[in-house]
């Protein structure tokens, strides 16, 4: 084989490999999106749902050490504007969203905080996360369109393999975004309800692993379930908002109408 022929063959091989790789990437993306779409449709079609989770969060603290928090969470949702959750383990908390406000109870400290919220669960999940910096790793799954919440134009990735999660063979979908990387596992058979979720909030130095169990897309719920029940001896406290949500970085305080400040306090 002459040098000329050899170099031509190498170029063709390289092009073929690039094309194959590109197709592979596209296939993985399409396969991942398809699975996520099934999951999204199934969850969104439920008027109400409940699920139990096992969550482990690693947060990089200011002192450079990693703090780990492990909680078990029960969540019940009724679309479009009701949410209840309760955690146990390292944090003993409870939350009630009634379409107007989210009441957070901290049973260990006997305090509560109230967040004024938008009228829908979708908007509230976004507000709680972005304005109040309260992590809701499964929040996007609870919205009316999980796929839209999860995938943006900046998201890349897709199907990357299979793993066995809690005895269920599950597809592993890995996604990357400038602010957050996440991986979700969806069963190969049966209901396409996630078995596991891993989220890396890059800008917040926080990683969370969620194991799902006991999905129920037809739970029995009542209005009373979402009405906050605050024990008499609990004290109301302020809920801190993120600075970026309150004022633009270059805001001049003398241009801010003080009387228009949004209260973050209860009642």
């Amino acid at each position: 084989m002459s040098t000329h022929h050899a170099s031509g063959f190498a170029m063709m091989l390289a092009v073929a490999m690039m094309v194959t790789g590109a197709c592979g990437t596209r296939d993985k993306r399409a396969r991942g999106e398809d699975l996520l779409k099934q999951t999204s449709f199934r969850i969104a079609s439920a008027q109400a749902l409940s699920v139990a989770t096992d969550e482990t969060s690693d947060r990089l603290a200011r002192d450079g050490k990693t703090r780990q928090v492990h909680v078990q969470r029960l969540v019940t949702v009724r679309r479009p504007d009701r949410l209840w959750f309760k955690t146990s383990g390292d944090r003993n908390t409870e939350g009630f969203y009634d379409g107007a406000q989210l009441t957070l109870l901290f049973h260990g400290e006997k305090v509560f905080g109230v967040i004024p919220t938008p009228a829908t669960l979708d908007e509230t999940i976004q507000t709680v996360s972005e304005r109040y910096d309260i992590p809701l790793p499964i929040g996007d799954l609870l919205t009316s369109d999980p796929q839209k919440s999860y995938l943006s134009s900046q998201t890349t990735g897709g199907w990357e393999g299979e793993d066995t999660i809690d005895g269920k063979r599950s597809a592993r979908l890995e996604w990357r975004h400038p602010n957050v990387d996440w991986t979700i596992w969806i069963p190969d058979s049966g209901e396409p309800l996630p078995t596991k979720l891993w989220v890396n909030y890059k800008s917040r130095n926080r990683k969370t692993t969620v194991l799902f169990k006991d999905w129920n897309l037809m739970p029995r719920v009542s209005d009373a379930m979402f009405q906050a029940r605050i024990p008499d001896d609990y004290e109301g406290v302020a809920v801190i908002q993120r600075a970026s949500a309150v004022l633009p970085p270059d805001a001049k305080p003398d241009a801010t109408p003080a009387s228009d400040v949004t209260p973050g306090s209860p009642k």
Partner: protein, 224 residues
């Protein structure tokens, strides 16, 4: 805020927001080396070594080396090196340089600051000796060991080593934020480094910038 300095144009803008806050702000404005008392009517402007204070019928404004503040009937705006605070009738929003802000109402404190695991974590980071009073706004994940509960009206605080802590919710968890000594709080014993200070005809105990009056059960925080 260590010093005070007011620019006329700043005061003019701020003045639009303010309505007779002289009484509520204080009729005593401390300026380095000077004190203005009982500002009334058309107002008083005093310039000191590190800044200026202005008090008038529409409110008060101060500006110093480390920021400025304006207070009126409808609220207050404060800006310093460590952040910005806007306080209104319905609550407060406080913003810190670390990217967090506080929304504060009738159940909470004011100001926001850096977040540490505990007092010891703050002390090491700050490079100060044990027992040093912690800066207002600082948040701790855990309260100081042995902190005493102090109740003022409907709100409970924790007190330790001259600092008062209120509980807040941040990032989905309860934290303990240092606040200015709440008026009316009573502690059993004074922290170290206090001394007698006479204000008018009354002698108080001054501990840093905090004044205490002697009461039957201990010492009560007085805010002028």
């Amino acid at each position: 805020m260590r010093g005070i300095h007011v620019r006329p144009q700043t005061l003019t803008r701020v003045g639009l927001l303010l309505v007779i806050a002289v009484a509520s702000v204080s009729t005593v404005v401390q300026v380095t080396g000077q004190t203005v008392r009982g500002a009334r009517a058309r107002g008083t402007v005093v310039q000191g070594e590190h800044g200026t204070a202005a008090v008038g019928p529409h409110g008060a404004a101060v500006k110093g080396d480390e920021g400025y503040a304006a207070v009126g009937r409808r609220g207050a705006v404060v800006h310093g090196d460590d952040g910005t605070a806007a306080v209104g009738r319905r609550g407060a929003v406080v913003v810190g340089e670390e990217g967090h802000g506080a929304a504060v109402g009738r159940y909470g404190g004011v100001v926001v600051g850096n977040h540490y695991e505990d007092y010891e974590g703050w002390r090491v980071a700050a490079g100060v000796a044990a027992g040093t009073a912690i800066a207002v706004g600082t948040m701790l994940s855990r309260p100081p060991a042995g902190a005493a509960t102090v109740v003022v009206g409907p709100t409970s605080y924790l007190y330790s080593g001259g600092s008062y802590y209120t509980r807040v919710v941040t990032g989905g968890a309860v934290a303990y934020q240092v606040v200015a000594p709440p008026a009316g709080a009573i502690i059993a014993t004074l922290p170290g480094g206090c001394g007698a200070a006479r204000v008018g005809a009354v002698t108080y105990q001054r501990c840093g910038n905090t004044y205490y009056e002697r009461v039957a059960t201990g010492y009560r925080v007085v805010v002028f």
